[in-house]
Amino acid sequence: MKAPFSWLKEYTDIDVSPDRLRDMLFSCGFEVEELIYLGKDVEGVAVGKILSCERHPNADRLTVCRVDCGAHGEKQIVTAATNVFEGALVPVALDGSTVKHEGGVQKIKTGKLRGVTSEGMFCSGEELGISDDFYEGAETDGILILDPADARPGEDIRPVVGIDDSIFDIAVTANRPDCQSIFGLAREVAAVLKKPLRRPDLTYTTVSTDVKVGVEVREPKLCPRYIGHYVKDVKVGTSPRWLRRRLALMGLRSVNNIVDITNYVLLEIGQPMHAFDRRHLRGDRIVVRRAAAGEKIVTLDEKEFTLNPENLLICDGERPVALAGIMGGLESGIGESTSDVFFEAASFARDSVRKTSRALGQRSDSSARFEKGVDPLFTPDMGMARALHLVSALGCGTPTSYGADALNAPAGKRVIRTSYASIEGLLGIPVPKEEVKGILSRLEFEIDDMGAEFTAVVPPYRQDIDGSPDLAEEVIRMYGYGHVVPSFLENATVTHGGLTEGQRAERKFKEVLRGEGYFEACNYSFYSPKDFDLLRLPADAPERRALRILNPIGEDLSLMRTILAPSMIGNIVRNVRRGNEEGRMFELANVYLSGELPPKALPEERKRVVLALWGEGDFFDLKGAVEALGAAFGVSLSFEACEKSFLHPGISATVRAEDREIGWIGELHPSIAAELALEKRAYLAELDYAPFAAKYGRGAEYKNPSAFPFVRRDLAVVVDEERTCAELEACILRSCKALRSAELFDVYRDARLGEGKKSMAFRLTFAPEERAEKPVSSETADGYFNKIVANLKRELGAELR
């Protein structure tokens, strides 16, 4: 909400600077986001009276003027302007001054123009940053000619043209729609400065009339208040300068006096007004109702809308004349010939206005104001009275005695009964009783002190206040948060804090991957439907059953993730493109799985981990990291070759934890890599997280190590190419109980081994039993070895090398 300093001053005595006021507003809950002094760029410009004008000796188009600049002395100014004349009062930018110039600031110095000294420059309205609404003639081509009635030579130009003023741009929180107006802000300013608040002049006299414009509200919930008033003998014309200047300060252009009054009241009182040309209200009736399906209206800006029953309309006896709270209809608008006006001041339900405004894409200052909430009991009355006063004061019409009022809101006073102790109890500090009363009274609460307790009548415009804590907040924001003394739960119970088992498991999980050299990534929880096509997922793939955001930022961020890999592939591509040729990365995050689409209940949020490795290392490096997770959590993992549309068919596997499939691992399919112009090989794995977390915190199972050392033997066998490591390993382990482990350490292929053959070498470790009384002898180990060899030969056709 913008507020000019000069306008605020009209309603209270401000005896502090704009900067100081900014700080005071800040501490009571109104952050001034911007404070602009309008005259900032116009320094050292004075009013001058032209004493003489002579043609420049060397240039036909230039004029040399002698100018009386009052206290600044007499100056010689050379100008190219043609509208200057002897005796004219003009703004003179003196030597060393600044003016606005093409969006920036220009410094003016004494110089020579075609050999003749010019001790400055005459200014146009543009160079002062003003329009006709600030000062008549500001937009004419040439120098701004000032009115002798309000300018004297030597005066600073800024007060003369209305730019010796500051604009506060104030962030008003959503609970304070009553401060979306100059007067509303002035109330706060008066309270914070402890100064009396002056009320706007609401007086007017009426003449009697026989005319009646009946008001019927058919949707009382959507329109809790509707006031109308009939004004006759309207003379549409130009508004006076003070009014135009105020609108201009707020960034509004003057239209005509009647329209200006409605805009002025919106800014000053916070009440959106509408002025109907009464002669266009058929049947002298106003009906507030929902639109019929397909009903149409053309608004003031000549746009046509087709409506539905969600849209609230203001209608006359026959058809729509306004989109309620948003914009009037074209036909009943104010024109030059308007002589009868029916003013509207209403309160419309904020979400109704918001929904219609959004749905139709039609916004206005009125709708913006209604969306924030206009109270039904206070603001419409004040707004209407102010408008009628202005009509009288401007002499542009005659308010009649006829006013209509439809009230559909509870009209009683709201009273809060509470105690000083209750307020102090919440704040934790004592606040003197007189302070509490003083603060609340200045904020226009009516206080009835009853000793320990008191009652407060809530001002009708303060719809945000409904209990004792609200009063406590009013007190502390005015008393000052600086009074709050830090304490540390002196009265509170000791509670036991800490991480849950699940959170500790997650920390460990991430630490394991960090130790394996992986960087943790963080991606959005949504992705693009195109990602499914990139992964070549078939039409019926479960991953495609993703939750859709109804109002996404864009199609690329429209689906909730059902698989983490696409985001990670994006990370790889971005990294490689930026020259990060190798890397390892993981993300632990939820996927969102819904049984039905669209969802009826909260979907399953399943935590998954995706790992990626690119540039350096291969499938087995990535697999090593997955195995490290298994080892760290005591989850026994197995891998089996599989096919996935997005993985290299020969380098891909499903991952099982204790026979349950929990994910997959493999190389990104080379055709996808090619499509992404990814020149590095990339490996990905994606797993459910729960099987790991489930094993967390079981504690270590301890066995005494044997007193005797392990015995090791290396075994190399030649087998058919199709035989897998897992098959051999399983066969070896089955063959001997004393075998602690069998680890593949070499695979060797050579023509001498035979076509389609390979040699696989395992390191066998035999362990004595825990309670063994003697070591595993060389002979015993040989026995085990021979048995293993025999089994391998029988079961897998393996030959000892």
Binding site: F26, C28, G29, T173, A174, N175, R350, D351, R354, E371, G425, L426, L427, G428, I429, D470, E473, I476, Y481, V484, S487, F488, L489, E490, N491, A492, T495, G497, G498, T500, Q503, R507, K510, R514, G515, E516, G517, F519, E520, A521, C522, Y524, S525, F526, L547, I549, N551, P552, I553, L557, M560, R574, N575, N580, M585, A589, N590, P598, P599, E605
Partner: protein
């Protein structure tokens, strides 16, 4: 016994010529081995007269001892020489890079989240994580934000239909927690939140950390005391906090909490835009209606709540100037958080 002196001198000469322990061993064996000269001398015992044998034996033994001592000394020197040669040969360029195992790094948001959890769990907070997809009730209605409330416009919400939405605030977790637990308690709820906002300073997904304390006689002063402690631990020992009025539907009074700028110590600098203060979190006393909605008697219990953006804290802590860096996952960025 000139012959013996001869042998000693020869042993001295030959052993001197032996370059390494292998050559020296061979020399040694040529004297003291099974076919060596001394052994051969011993074998001549039979040829000697019976009465001369003891003296002869004594002499040969003396010779053997001399030679053994001689070779032992020689061996010592050869070994020293060999070690010296090996050490000279094995010199490495110690400035060559070490063979490192890789270390990764946790995401800065995770690091800050864990740090926050550690700070508050030390104060008695337990951690509770609610769902990221919420229904309207938990995200808004129960938090005193009914359907027509203007505060709904404060946060642009992603909707999934049927009253389901992506939670806009971890405050949603407050309600779920309070439905299950009776006060007194201190609860911390970290997690992802979503708002349809995407520009230089806003990300459609970010992380929040919500704190909630409900007990008898909890006051605004307690909130300030706790946040002071938090600021001192998180930022610097000399950090201060400042409360100023604000508005959230679920707290009353509501405050914005500024922390003194750690970069300039509160004097004013570009980071704090000259104010000396940095806006860090929102907080307030829990609104009575919120307590009522969760079956907590607001006449018996009061509470305070605070919520902060983890990205914001991370950006302040590490001086990160662009929120997008946190979701780009550039390894050159991530590798800087290994500490």
């Amino acid at each position: 016994m000139n012959e013996n002196e001869e042998i000693v001198r020869e042993a001295e000469r030959l052993s001197e010529q032996a370059e390494d322990s292998r050559a020296l061993y061979e020399v040694k064996m040529s004297f003291l081995g099974r076919t060596g000269k001394v052994t051969s001398l011993m074998k001549r015992m039979k040829e000697i007269a019976q009465e001369l044998r003891p003296a002869f034996g004594k002499e040969v033994n003396a010779l053997r001892e001399r030679l053994e001592a001689l070779f032992a000394a020689r061996e010592e020197r050869v070994k020293e020489r060999e070690l010296a040669r090996r050490l000279a040969r094995e010199k490495v360029d110690v400035t060559m890079p070490g063979r490192r195992s890789r270390t990764g790094a946790l995401h800065p948001v995770t690091k800050v989240k864990e740090e926050l959890i550690d700070i508050f769990s030390g104060m008695g907070f337990e951690v509770f994580e609610g769902p990221e997809i919420e229904n309207d009730y938990y995200n808004f209605t129960a938090l005193n934000t009914p359907a027509d409330h203007p505060a709904r416009d404060m946060q642009d919400t992603f909707y999934l239909g049927e009253g389901l939405l992506l939670r806009t605030q971890t405050s949603a977790g407050q309600i779920r927690f309070m439905e299950k637990r009776k006060p007194p308690f201190k609860m911390l709820s970290p997690g992802r939140v979503f708002r349809s906002d995407d520009d230089a300073t806003h990300s459609p997904m970010f992380h929040q950390m919500e704190g909630l304390v409900v007990d008898r006689g909890v006051t605004l002063c307690d909130l300030k005391g706790m946040l002071d402690e938090f600021a001192r631990t998180m930022f610097s020992a000399s950090s201060r906090t400042r409360l100023r009025p604000s508005y959230f539907p679920f707290t009353e009074p509501s405050v914005e909490v500024d922390v003194s700028c750690a970069s300039c110590g509160g004097k004013g600098c570009p980071l704090c835009k000259g104010t000396g203060w940095i806006e860090v979190l929102g907080a307030g006393m829990v609104n009575r209606r919120v307590l009522e909605n969760c079956g907590v008697d607001p006449d018996e219990y009061t509470g305070f709540a605070f919520g902060m953006g983890i990205e914001r804290i991370a950006m302040l802590k590490y001086g990160i100037n662009n929120i997008k860096l946190l979701t780009e996952n550039d390894t050159r960025f991530l590798e800087q958080f290994k500490d």
